[in-house]
């Protein structure tokens, strides 16, 4: 009986090793926090519709290096801008737009969050920008550098001011050997 069963062993081995190992990881909640992003003041630019200033910061590829060679998916779910540097609130911001671009890949920009103050909005030290669906930034993520730009519009302070920007991301990594 034993000898008759031995031919089955290669079949079992083929079944076992025919399955290529794979690895999947789901990162439901990752936050990148940029502290102290300086926004320019808008002296003498007071207009009925307010002024607009843009500031940006760059994220190097070091954060994405661990996922570059993997079949990863990266999404932006939410962006939060919080007053810092003694700024009491962000009530003066009427609207905000955050975009991301990877100059080494494409000049086109990807909108990752926007914000528009509603009339019923309460006073607060932070604003949250969202989109109807998470924004896929996978292609940007694999670039050497990603430039994140924040454009705000409103009755802005005349002096430079600072904010903290938090990007809430999620990711899914799949890797097959």
């Amino acid at each position: 009986m034993t000898l008759r069963l031995f031919p089955i062993i290669p079949v079992l081995a083929a079944l076992a090793f025919g399955c290529s190992p794979s690895f999947e990881a789901s990162l439901p909640d990752v936050e990148i926090i940029q502290h102290g992003l300086v926004m320019d003041g808008a002296p003498g630019l007071a207009q009925p519709n307010g002024a607009s200033v843009t500031s940006s910061f760059t994220i190097s590829s070091s954060i994405a290096a661990w996922a570059e060679r993997m079949n990863s998916k990266v999404f932006v779910h939410q962006v939060t801008v919080t007053a810092s540097g003694g700024l009491p609130n962000l009530d003066f911001i009427e609207s905000a737009l955050m975009t991301a671009t990877a100059p080494s890949i494409s000049e086109s920009t990807t909108e990752i969050a926007n914000y528009a103050r509603s009339e019923a909005a309460l006073s607060g030290s932070s604003i949250e920008g969202t989109r109807p669906a998470p924004t896929d930034i996978t292609s940007l993520w694999s670039a050497d550098q990603v430039v994140i730009s924040l454009q705000v519009t409103g009755q802005l302070p005349e002096q430079p001011w600072t904010v903290d920007v938090t990007l809430k991301l999620s990711g899914h990594i799949t890797y097959e050997f």
């Binding site: 009986m1 034993t2 069963l5 089955i8 062993i9 079992l12 081995a13 079944l15 076992a16 090793f17 399955c19 190992p21 794979s22 690895f23 999947e24 990881a25 789901s26 990162l27 439901p28 909640d29 990752v30 936050e31 990148i32 926090i33 940029q34 502290h35 102290g36 992003l37 300086v38 500031s55 940006s56 910061f57 760059t58 994220i59 190097s60 070091s62 954060i63 290096a65 661990w66 810092s84 600072t162 903290d164």
Partner: protein, 315 residues
């Protein structure tokens, strides 16, 4: 005097004919073993029912009284006495197979046993003669299915199972349940599973589910040549196995080799210590950039797996 001598010769001839006829027939009329035990009990020097455990060459039927036994047989007379009790009959049945079946016949499922009463033999017959007689009895005896031991202990080792010791229950020859615990060199865990053996032995299919508690894997990583990492400080996982395999043996001892696919899943802790913090190079940034992982990521690995082990059924 002469008539007396004739009577003695006649009786001797009669006894000789009777003895020869019994030897030729090879057996006495069948009797209920319980009846035989009752009739034999307390009759010193009369034939006794002994356990066929009496060893190789000892027939599982009737043996002469102690004063006719060889030294080996004499030591078995205690067993014979014990078997006088009615509850000894099942034991006699169970052990009868050892002398009436080929050696490997015990491995086959559905093997048949010869009831003790079917092996009844003439009193005082010679050993060689008994063997022949028993063969005749075995050929004509009714057969009964032999019960497989149901409960056992299993030990196996493999990846990702680690070293597992389990209790095993085999309600039917084609089905086996197991549950137990073990270690993987990092922490302790548990596992439960079910194995199907369509033929009772040979090809098998198993499904198992287990898990390991969180443990520090840095020591193991160093052992196999990797460096330590905060990510390895808490390593635990759950897993399922879908295996095909071969199981050798079916009665008391089963050796198996299983292989297939395993799915492992768990959480990766301290990942933010592994991912380098992003750097901001713009002059407009006065602060720092921070990476935070508020919730531990979930990871899943699909990998080939293999394990080998054995089962010892105890009852």
């Amino acid at each position: 005097m002469r008539s007396t001598l004739r009577k003695v010769v006649f009786l001797g001839s009669l006894l000789g004919v009777l003895g020869a006829s019994r030897s030729l027939l090879g057996r006495v009329p069948e009797r209920n073993p319980a009846d035989q035990i009752r009739s034999d009990a307390g009759t010193e020097g009369s034939p006794k029912l002994v356990s066929p455990d009496a060893g190789a060459g000892q027939m599982p039927g009737l043996v002469p009284a102690e004063d006719h036994l060889s030294p080996v047989d004499a030591g078995l007379s205690d067993i014979a006495d014990a078997s006088m009790h009615a509850d000894a009959i099942p034991d006699a049945r169970d052990t009868a197979i050892s002398t009436s079946q080929p050696q490997d016949a015990g491995e086959a499922d559905g093997e048949q046993i010869i009831p003790a009463h079917a092996a009844d033999l003439p009193v005082g017959a010679e050993s060689s003669r008994r063997g022949e007689d028993m063969s005749v009895a075995a050929a004509t005896a009714p057969v009964l299915p032999k019960r497989l031991p149901k409960y056992g202990l299993m030990v196996d080792v493999g990846v990702p199972d680690g070293l597992i010791g389990s209790l095993v229950v085999r309600p039917w020859k084609w089905l086996r349940f197991c549950a137990g615990g073990g270690a993987n060199g990092i922490s302790y865990g548990w596992r439960t599973g079910i194995t199907l053996l369509p033929l009772g032995q040979g090809p098998s299919a198993s499904l198992e589910y287990g898990g390991y508690l969180d443990g520090d894997a840095n020591a193991m990583a160093k052992t196999i040549g990797f460096g330590s990492s905060p990510v390895l400080q808490r390593v635990g996982y759950q897993y399922t196995n879908a295996h095909l395999g071969l199981d050798f043996g079916s009665r008391r001892f089963v050796f198996f080799l299983h292989g297939g696919v395993s799915v492992l899943w768990g959480q990766i802790h301290n990942l933010d210590t592994l991912i380098p913090a992003p750097t901001a190079s713009d002059a407009s940034v006065t602060g720092t950039t921070q990476l935070v992982v508020p919730r531990d990521p979930n990871a899943r690995v699909v990998t080939p797996s293999v394990k080998l082990g054995f089962v010892v059924y105890v009852r």
